[in-house]
Amino acid sequence: MEFLAPGSWPDALAARAENPGAVPIAGGTDVMVDLNFDRHRPDALIDLTRVGELREWSVAEDGTVRLGAGVSFARVMSELSALAPGLAMASRTVGSPQIRVRGTVGGNLGSASPAGDAHPVLLAVGAAVEVESAARGPRAIPVSEFFTGVKTSALEPDELISAVLLPAATGPQQFAKVGTRNAMVIAVTSFGLALHPEQGRVGAAIGSAAPTPLSAVDAQDYAAGELVDLWSSRGELPGGVAARFGELVAAAARPIDDVRGTAAYRRHALSVLARRTLTWAWDEYRRAA
């Protein structure tokens, strides 16, 4: 086995291109578990923690936040709670303090687990994953096209994830997750919500209740339709809307029975999470008037 420690982004891309059997390692919170248990023995590790570019974030003039793939969950919580409140909330639920200090958003995407906590919010806000290869340069993949199956993604073997591109929040966002305790749980199911008042749009996405993280398209359309006259008046959410929204979110899920929960429980939990988070987010939107 080899240990490659590129010190810059171009060197990292070159190492990726030259070592098809290598595994990139960022925070290591997924990769090291596989190595420790000998589930996987790659030809080489490509350590990304010395690539300074990956740990930076910035905001463009049009309000797009470019979040380097190597920014940790702990930093998202402390530095991005205003620009990306939903992602900051999701980050707060990841693992434990020790996991959040090391674990990165890029690593979450790299693992592409259906239970990854960053994913529902990234779908709900309409984020894109910026990836790059030495041969073909950079490209942006909409998060809605990034997850292709259980733990598989649209990332090509010679590509690395450089950043996540997400619009700075223009309205309230929420993330909620069901698990057996507050810390250190893989989601039984999870839900991300983003209000986009300037577009009259509601983003809603599900985690851990389908082979991939998933947008709840019918629920999004329904909410946008019900709220169409309310964005400017900031009126009360009409009775029954949140509950119906919850039903549509549950209907979008494609859950299975597994050790963490049954499909029926996941659907029920999702309807509750969706109803609650829409209510909270809309109340916050009204109070912000």
Binding site: M1, E2, F3, A5, I25, G27, G28, T29, V31, M32, V33, L35, N36, F37, R41, P42, A44, L45, D47, T49, G95, S96, P97, Q98, I99, V101, R102, N182, A183, M184
Partner: protein, 154 residues
């Protein structure tokens, strides 16, 4: 491969390190520092908690090569010679140590918590210790020890 790093203020080096090896293995098996414990090797228990460049991490989830040139502080680095750190003394006095397997990781984590927040609320203590499991004490004595240590350090 050869790795060099700073551990508890001393420059250390190890040869023939396997490229997929963890920082925890490096510390325990090659550098003679068995204080950090190996209980789960999957980030769940926190018994391997150490400082890496000033942040508390699970040493079992850091590749040895990732620690090259970095600064590590382990539980062995908390005491001042024969004088226990107040956090260590508080754990002893409160009876927060039973089998002791979780203790090194908890000491490092509490050391860090109190360095950042001299007077944490109980909820903050619980949150800070959420990644450290103890199978013996039921946590009450550990919470007592943290409150006591905060008092001693004030």
């Amino acid at each position: 491969m050869r790795v060099h790093l700073t551990v508890n203020g001393e420059r250390r080096q190890a040869d023939d390190v396997w490229e997929g090896e963890s920082l925890l293995y490096l510390l325990r098996e090659r550098l003679g520092l068995p204080g950090s414990k190996n209980a789960c090797e999957q980030g769940e228990c926190g018994s391997c908690s150490v400082y890496l460049d000033g942040e508390v991490v699970c040493a079992c989830l850091v590749a040895a090569g990732q620690a090259v040139g970095r600064e590590v502080v382990t539980v062995e680095g908390l005491a001042d010679g024969a004088d226990l750190h107040p956090v260590q003394q508080a754990f002893l006095d409160a009876g927060a140590v039973q089998c002791g397997f979780c203790t090194p990781g908890l000491l490092v984590t509490v050391h860090d918590l109190l360095a950042r927040d001299a007077a944490p609320e109980d909820a903050e203590i619980r949150e800070a210790l959420a990644g450290n499991l103890c199978r013996c004490t039921g946590y009450e004595k550990i919470l007592d020890a943290v409150r006591d240590a905060a008092g001693r350090l004030a």
